[in-house]
């Protein structure tokens, strides 16, 4: 759930600028295997992490450039990137798990780190990554509300032409949104790789749909110009609860994937209605 949350934050930002990023799950895998392969080859951890970041940002940059300068539909560009990144990750790993036994132990510990909290004699674990996720929710919410470079995402998404005539660098702002999405994807890949102690080309399958569903449930509009990080957080929470519900009710957990689709379609439908009413 924490992973979905981080990806959903990036997705929300991309949706605000009228984009969409379907490549998040695949780029996550590609970034993860890059880091894992380098660490397996005894490259210093920080250097390996930086390489993973560069790979993710490169994918984000290509997405942004093709959308903005190439004028191709974001849906198509990132759908292509989704396939390219997944393919590359599979090729370089030949589909194997990539472990990195020689990496320092701290790296494979922090992804699973939990704070222990005693309440009434029972000990609950509070995962570090959940706290990180919540911290990012708070920070990005604040920045989107008050920080001018982030505020401009909304203006660009609401009306790119008006934003341009208002003196905003629309191209740069849109590309920045894709780069931010890639940044969150890299961070998710980092946590996943650390927690599982392996890099894997099949990480993040379906992540784009969950993030999209969460973002749209949380109020992001596919028409751009609207979106809320806190809303996306609630969206992630809702998807997690639905998933959990299937387990609790002894249902088949495989229904979870179907439920994500239903939520996505319902949310997009409501968004379409809302947009229609607004523009009427």
């Amino acid at each position: 759930m924490s992973y979905d949350l981080l990806v959903a934050i990036g997705m929300t930002i991309v949706l605000i600028v009228r984009g969409i990023d379907l490549s998040v799950g695949s780029v996550m895998a590609l970034s993860s295997v890059t880091m894992a392969l380098l660490m397996r080859g005894d490259v210093p951890v920080l250097l390996a992490l930086a390489a993973g970041l560069i790979v993710a940002l490169f994918c984000g940059l290509v997405n942004g450039l093709l959308v903005v300068k190439g004028g191709i539909l974001p849906f198509l560009v990132t759908l292509g990137m989704m396939s390219v990144a997944r393919g590359l990750a599979t090729v370089v790993t030949t589909g194997q798990y990539i472990s990195f036994p020689s990496a320092p132990p701290w790296f494979s510990q922090f992804g699973r780190f939990e704070f222990r909290i005693e309440i009434g004699g029972t000990s609950y674990g509070l995962p570090l990554i959940l706290l990180i996720g919540l911290a990012f929710v708070a920070i990005t919410s604040l920045l989107l509300a008050y920080w001018t470079p982030f505020r401009s995402f909304f203006f660009v998404g609401e009306s790119p032409e008006a934003a341009r005539l208002s003196g905003m660098n629309v191209d740069r702002i849109m590309i920045t949104a894709y780069l931010l999405s890639a940044l969150f994807v890299w961070f998710t890949a980092l946590l996943l790789t650390s927690a599982n102690k392996i890099g894997y080309a099949n990480y993040g399958i379906g992540a784009e749909l969950r993030a999209l569903a969460a973002a749209v449930v949380g109020g992001a509009s596919l028409a751009g110009g609207a979106g809320s990080i806190f809303g996306a957080f609630l969206g992630v929470l809702m998807l997690a609860l639905i998933g959990n519900g299937f387990v609790m009710l002894n249902g088949n957990p495989n229904w979870q994937q179907a439920s994500v689709g239903v939520v996505l379609i319902a949310a997009v439908g409501i968004d379409a209605l809302r947009t229609y009413r607004d523009r009427r």
């Binding site: 920080w147 203006f155 008006a162 003196g167």
Partner: protein, 494 residues
Amino acid sequence: MLNAKGVSKSFFGNKVLDSVNFDVRPGEVHALVGENGAGKSTLINIIAGIHRRDSGKIVFDGKEVDFAHPLQAMEAGISVVHQELSLVPSTTVAENIFLRREKRNGVGLNDWRGMNRAATDVFRRISIDIDPNALAGSLSVGMQQLVEVAKAIALDAKLIIMEEPTSSLSEKDTAELFKVIRDLRQQGLGIIFVSHKLSELFTIADRITVLRDGRHIATEGVGSLTRESLIRMMVGRNLGNLYPPRAAAIGDVVFKCENLSCFGAVRDVNFEVRRREIVGLAGLVGSGRTEAMRALVNADKRASGSFWLDGQPVRIEDPEDALAYGIVYLSEDRKGSGLFLSYSIAENIGASTFDRYADRFGFLRPSALRTRAKEFIKRMDIRPPDESARVINLSGGNQQKVLISKALDVNPKVLIVDEPTRGVDVGAKALIHAQIRDLAQSGIGVIVVSSEMPEVVGLSDRILVFRNGAISAELDNQNGEVTQETIMTHAVYQ
């Protein structure tokens, strides 16, 4: 043929129509006028079945009617030609006319020949010449307007409602449209004509009904009305002189443009703007006025052009550069490329000047922005006077005031306003004109692009007439003596 009595309508407790009476006789052009928000659109929407009335009675064609849906009104014989054209650009003219009522041949495929023939018949009826096979998107706005009228006629409409039909038409297209309207009147159709352009009403209308604040003020024959009496009834007061007084002393050159060209639209345009001067750009629609101004800030890629600001050469690669120099272009399309419709008045006003309302780390100080917005709301008389109101809910005139406030907040040196008062009511118009004059007086150079010739003549100190992408005449208008005829001679092909 149409008789509406005591029609009332409220939205969310706001009475927008208060027992209004309105009637149309066969073979009559009945104009409906009033300031924005006077209730014209609501009345029309009720007649056309888009809204339902709260109370009152409407008799059409001898039967009492209460349409629940526009389609019912259409079937009864009432068609609306909306201000925003609704043709599908990528399909043919004939297809558009028969949209959703396509003629089929025996196997259920579209009967192209039949549709084209029927379309041609309709065109002949209103004696216009349009190829039914042409793509709707390839026609000029004026021609598209006529296709909309043809569509209404093909539907056997008895009453045609036209909303601001000439707002984006050139003088020539307007004349063509009026010819068609006269034809239809001859054939016994009733026409409701909504327009802000008062001069047109006297040319085309038989009777005029004035609404104000949702109430019926008067219905009179054109003969017994004058422009002044009409304006008085619309605003409920004397507006005095429609245009602000001219500049006292025009200063030195603030902005110079040389050799501005843009592929296919603008050819070698040279001009200067002086401090405290308003330069009006006149010309027919498509003559390159708007295109030249967009090319100036490089909103559309230009082929060539050099610019000087205060005597210094400046490079303008995109609107961002222009803005940094204090050169602001306000689009004619305020909804599409001027305003951020879903956002508040305050956010729109600050859209170009964000950084001024942020601390040195870039964090917005919302209170600073709100205070500034309040100043503009007061200065421009923006209604509602609430800086957090969403712009989408404002009337056209108030939206335009927000747009101009946004430009003023930049403290521009050169302000380019494209169609500053399109679709804006008389009261707001006077205010916007006064603000533009004030702005020029404060020492900046102003360029006003307008299709409304009275506006160009009334407002500008100098007039540049565009024809076919180039400036065809420069007219000194400091004493306001340039006539519309003079402009027209330079605007049309010889």
